[in-house]
Amino acid sequence: MIKIKVDSLTKIFGKRPERAIKLLNEGVPKEKIHQQTGLTIGVNRASFEVHEGEIFVIMGLSGSGKSTLIRLLNRLIKPTSGHVYIDEEDISLMNDEQLREIRRKKISMVFQRFALFPHRTVLENVEYGLEIQGMPQAERTAKALESLKMVGLESWANSLPDQLSGGMQQRVGLARALANDPDVLLMDEAFSALDPLIRKDMQDELVELQDKMKKTIIFITHDLDEALRIGDRIALMKDGSIVQIGTPEQFLMNPANDYVARFIEDVDLSRVLTAEHVMKRAEAVSLDKGPRVALQFMGDLGISSIFVVDRQKKLLGAVTAEAARKAVENSIPMEQILEKVTTTAPDTVLIDLFDTVATTSIPVAVIDQKGRLLGVLIRGAILGALAGQYEETKQGKNEVLISELTEEGGKVS
């Protein structure tokens, strides 16, 4: 279900912004518009949809307009043109009263530098959103404590924010945003001010909390690793425009243009790519075809071992060319020459596979939960993928290959 729909949202800073809108529509670049009119394009006709319950990451370097964009969503900044729909209500048309109501009930925000009120205790900070709605003291304290508990800080309720570390302060920020139980959470570079270890903890914690809460989260960051780690989908911004929207995988596999490609080139691919991304078509033979056919296939394909599957494509093991030859000579059934194969799940990241791949003689098989063969990991292909020469292998192709072999085997027998 679509929770937030953003329709050609534009923000232009400066006087009489309508001058720039015309130029934008004519495709004049941002710098040129600035030269001609003195106007700054904050966000340029951004359109996207955010689904209920997803973490939607908006990523971009500083100055790309991402902070402006997130502020347009709860109208801390008023859009120059375009629309923001939350549950099909147009935020951009609301009056102050309606806007306050939606900010109080539906959408709350976590800030980069925490933005905790220094004169209020942790508890009073968390209570703030409820307090201004006029909720009675006892009720709001109970809710605020509950929210603090969720982030593990209930014992700090009566401390002042500046007595807490950065990570704790941001947890208070998160608790404050969660206290009024909003549907939508806007997080503006929420973890960027934290040091790397704490940041990683907070990312994990957020993902964990999200599993329970199922909020719709819009998360701004300039950190690609962070985007890949927590984002269900990512939008990349440049110069106020959205350059690409997609899942983390789509970003890595199919960068929409050079800019995206450059942006992602420093990513540690071994932590992002999974077995599924780099596996090759698996050569397999079904068990009932016997060692002779297996030997024949290996000879044709020029390989020294082949996987053996049953009729349901479930992986049984592998045979080497040498064992198959001996079996043919001595009429030994295939069952007896099967060797054990190291297997892995398709979503294992490459960094966890290096050791396995390096130490086994028969290539590592990728299998699904039911034990069916999906593909094979070949050392060269892994290294190639890490070097950025990724060539997409579709899971479907593997299946086609195996079924072909099985059918062929069927004809033979």
């Binding site: 502020r71 709860n74 801390l76 806007l99 306050r100 109501e101 939606i102 900010r103 109080r104 709350s108 925000m109 800030f111 980069q112 530098r113 933005a115 905790l116 009120f117 220094p118 004169h119 703030y128 959103g129 307090e131 201004i132 709605q133 002042l160 404050r176 009024n180 806007l186």
Partner: protein, 283 residues
């Protein structure tokens, strides 16, 4: 000396005409204001003098101890005993009443104006030169229309003091509110605060130390006006100094002057620390 052969702009006549117009049309208003102000000054004075001197001294010493260091309390005790000993107690209390009334009015008018100008750039830009004008125009000049509006006595003194002493309260209230970090304002907005809630729950608490500093300065400026105010009939220590000057009584002038200094230091230290204490207690 020759001037350009242009006729002189009759600014003086315009101002006089304006003041006449004000008096003609708003005399009842001035009457009411005058009555109220006088009542306030009188009640302060009555209260301060109704309390036995020694009790008053102890109260002020305790106040100084509450909001200052012990040295401030000792200074207050010794200073006030000295004033009493020199025979200026009654006049000191009259001056204190005048200063407190003027300061009170400065705060009542100044803080809201400061808030207003913090929220509106146009107001700020209009008010700033006006404040410069109020502070740099020699204070004596206000005395003349003040007398026209309010006749002789303590009220025109208060009026002139308020005009002279209000600017710091306005300026620092404005500054204090504007200095609240923009991200905190954003946070307050993002949770759906009304402008009033934002002001009460965020801006004023955070601006409080700055506002208190402004009030402190206003009190000091009001105190600096007491001698000038005495020229139009306000009593108290100012009148003593003024009389000493006109009659060349060096000793009396020094005594009354010293009493003003003691009062000034006492008020300064106490109000300065109220601002800080408020800050500390909230932490």
């Amino acid at each position: 000396m020759t001037s350009f052969p242009l006729p002189k702009i009759p600014l003086d006549k315009w101002i006089s005409a304006f003041v006449d117009w004000l008096i003609e049309h708003f005399d009842p208003v001035f009457g009411v204001i005058g009555t109220v102000v006088e009542a306030v000054v009188d009640s302060f004075e009555w209260a301060f003098l109704a309390i036995p001197t020694i009790v008053m001294i102890i109260l002020l010493t305790l106040l100084a101890y509450r909001y200052g260091r012990r040295s401030v309390a000792v200074f207050t005790l010794v200073g006030l005993l000295l004033i009493d000993n020199l025979g200026y107690w009654e006049h000191t209390m009259q001056t204190l009443s005048l200063v407190l009334t003027a300061s009170l009015l400065s705060v009542i008018i100044g803080v809201p104006v400061g808030i207003w100008s913090a929220r509106n750039d146009t107001v700020r830009n209009t008010i700033t030169p006006l404040l410069d004008f109020m502070q740099t125009m020699p204070a004596f000049v206000y005395l003349i229309p003040a007398v026209f509006f309010f006749n002789l006595g303590v009220v025109p003194g208060v009026f002139a003091s308020v005009i002279f002493s209000m600017p710091p309260t306005i300026r620092l209230t404005n500054l204090g509110i504007r200095q609240v970090p923009v991200e905190l304002i954003e946070a307050a907005d993002a949770f759906g605060s009304t402008p009033g809630q934002k002001l009460r729950k965020l801006q004023l608490p955070l601006a409080k130390p700055m506002i208190m500093a402004g009030i402190n300065q206003s009190i000091m400026l009001a105190l600096s006006m007491v001698v000038i105010a005495s020229m139009i009939g306000a009593g108290g220590l100012g009148a003593d100094v003024y009389r000493a000057v006109t009659q060349i009584k060096i000793g009396v002038g020094f005594e009354a002057g010293l009493a003003i200094v003691i009062l000034a230091i006492m008020l300064d230290r106490i109000t300065q620390n109220i601002g800080k204490k408020v800050k500390q207690e909230e932490r």
